[in-house]
Symmetry: C2
Subunit: 391 residues, 2 copies
């Protein structure tokens, strides 16, 4: 196990009707003027926005609002949010939504207290400070509610890049599984896929002797394997939603990923797809992961055999571990299809003829030098082959 530092100071408030505590929580963390940041009309139609405003009113907390965050959130709205916060002297950003809204909120919170262009943070500059952030999560997926991470797409060049820093960890996150019961099945499935990707990206490690984190990741994968189909079959299943919601947070706050190298190649390869085609990140991952895993599994057959046996219930083929390894990848691929995820470029809306362009942006965009690194280092040729496996 490698040396590490782990710090997850977010206060998680979990369960039914917890959104009514928003005002009390903003107050607890010192907020006086709030930006309520959200996406489309669903938080309006569901009445969530009104309930949150009522909760803020009750505590005498003033607010302004900014809607319009789209999936794969863009830098344009971030600039708008930063200007609004400065103009209105906002000191607290409250995100109502999923990963896109939270990531946009984090970018705004960091940008308000920074003199330069907030995009600097997405090109590697350290985030030193940010406005306090709270979240009210409406989809279990990105894990942004408990993470120090944010991913934003810059319109010029369609670069999709991430920034990270303890300063943008939410002070509190409200997790009410009921809020996720109205999600369309496709979005629920995309969220489930994203959570499982966060687990696989940590599972694929070159570190050795990491049993405790291996076991914790497997525990969360087993939970997703069992609860995912229950949610797809019955969207109103509160208990299945609740299990997935906590698993989604635990999958990405890194308590299960400490002390080990991680992969993140699938995320990097997928990011070019959702940036280019504006597909759901989870849907992109569903197409990407099986291809990546089938391309790299020989790098560590026993690791893939382990997850096949412990999570996917495959029988270990002790004479041919690679058979078990591949069985596990195939079981995961079939699982993703079974919950309604796309299985190839066509279903995703991606085009084979774009592959050279995708590879070019992936391997050279935004300061990269011809490859991406993780569990395995992948160069242009590798990435081309992987994208072609998805066609």
């Amino acid at each position: 196990m490698e040396n590490f530092e782990f710090y997850s100071p977010t206060c998680f408030v979990f369960g039914k009707e917890t959104e009514n505590k928003a005002g009390e929580l903003v107050k607890r963390f010192g907020g006086k003027k709030v930006l309520i940041h959200y996406g489309g009309g669903s938080v309006v139609r569901s009445g969530l926005l009104d309930r949150v405003k009522a909760s803020l009113d009750k505590e005498g907390i003033d607010f302004v609002e900014l809607g319009g965050v789209k999936p794969n959130p863009r830098s344009g709205l971030v600039y708008e949010g930063i200007d609004l916060c400065k103009k209105e002297n906002v000191d607290f950003v409250l995100a109502l939504g999923g990963g896109s809204v939270i990531d946009s909120s984090k970018a705004i919170a960091a940008g308000v207290l920074y003199d330069g262009d907030f995009w600097d943070f997405y090109q590697g500059k350290r985030i030193e400070k940010a406005l306090n952030i709270g979240t009210i999560l409406t989809i279990a997926a990105a894990g942004s509610e408990g993470s120090p991470d944010s991913v934003i797409t810059k319109e010029e060049g369609m670069y999709k890049r991430g920034a990270s820093g303890d300063a943008i960890r939410p002070k509190f996150s409200i997790l009410n599984p009921t809020l996720t019961q109205t999600l369309p099945a496709f979005q629920s499935a995309a969220g489930i896929t994203d959570i499982m990707a966060h687990l696989y990206e940590r599972y694929l490690t070159n570190s050795t002797e990491v049993e405790v984190t291996d076991r914790l990741i497997e525990a969360l994968l087993l939970t997703m394997k069992h609860e995912g189909p229950r949610v797809i079959a019955n969207p109103d299943n509160y208990e299945a939603r609740a299990n997935i919601m906590w698993a989604g947070m635990m999958a990405h706050n890194n308590s299960c990923g400490v002390g080990r190298s991680q992969d993140w190649n699938s995320h990097n390869i997928e990011h070019e797809l959702s940036a280019e085609y504006d597909c759901a990140h989870g849907a992109g991952l569903a197409v990407t992961m099986p291809a990546v895993f089938n391309y790299v599994y020989k790098h560590n057959v026993m690791r893939f055999a382990q997850v096949a046996v412990r999570v996917w219930g495959c029988q270990m083929d002790f004479e041919h571990p690679e058979v078990t390894a591949k069985e596990g990848i195939e079981a995961f691929r079939k699982y993703l299809i079974s919950i309604g995820m796309p299985k190839n470029f066509e279903e995703l809306g991606a085009k084979e003829e774009d592959i050279p362009k995708l590879v070019n942006v992936l391997c050279y965009g935004d300061g990269r030098n011809g490859s991406i690194s993780g569990f395995v280092t992948l160069n242009e040729d590798d990435c081309t082959k992987i994208y072609k496996m998805m066609v």
Copy 2:
């Protein structure tokens, strides 16, 4: 799953030589005058105390010290520590040791900022504020490094009682597995037992539909099952020590215990043993848990069958689940013996003739009304029978 709030703001610094960051961390969390609190001579002999002092010196941080914490820490030294902190204007308590030292440090930190008797907190008064606390852990066991809990024994009456509050959560905890390599085998095994008890106390729940936390607890139990004997066989095994150390923290910071009712009867029953006989808490638990489990398993046979199958590798007897349930309890009992733990009152140094007295203190001491409650409510008669099963 039940509604819950989860907050674990401790910064964990994990790995080799991390104790040298003590000064930097005290500074990061605003400490200017430190009480270094520790137990016996081992932190002196090992050079740990000197390294920590050097680290504080390097940052120009002043300190005083108070050693002498014993296992099952007593209130007497807590009062002494409170007086010392007030006299010396201490603003930060740094615990060097295991659960006893950390729990004593938490009591001191809370007591310094309280006008009344600190024991009030151990009789149910809410802890509102405390001096900042840091820990440098020397044994993986109590989980106090990441918990809001403290257990202290009051000399008059030998009451062993707990207090809890976010204010006494450590600001940082330094976890260097190397520091645990010099522990005697018995202490290592007692620590392993304590960690597994924290997991079982959470596993034994009356809540339903808690798959995510069930799976996480099982993951940590599986880790302990595998890594425990590796440490006993080879005390210098850094990797096994590291896996156990992170498992010990995760077992008790409650990320795996949220949203579910918990048991804690085994801890309550054991506390009277370690208070009366001054035995190691983990050793007392090793004798207590199998008796309690064999007494209560019929309350939920399938729960005990589940842990038997998933953790202890028992084959499920679908026609007679109670057989599987009991096999799992027996596998755990044999495991505890295999790592060197006592198996009965005699090996523990406890006396059968004391049982009426133990039961009386357990069921009526310090405000209780004739029973203890958890997974099952146990009255005097139940507790008497359970103690007799340990003879």
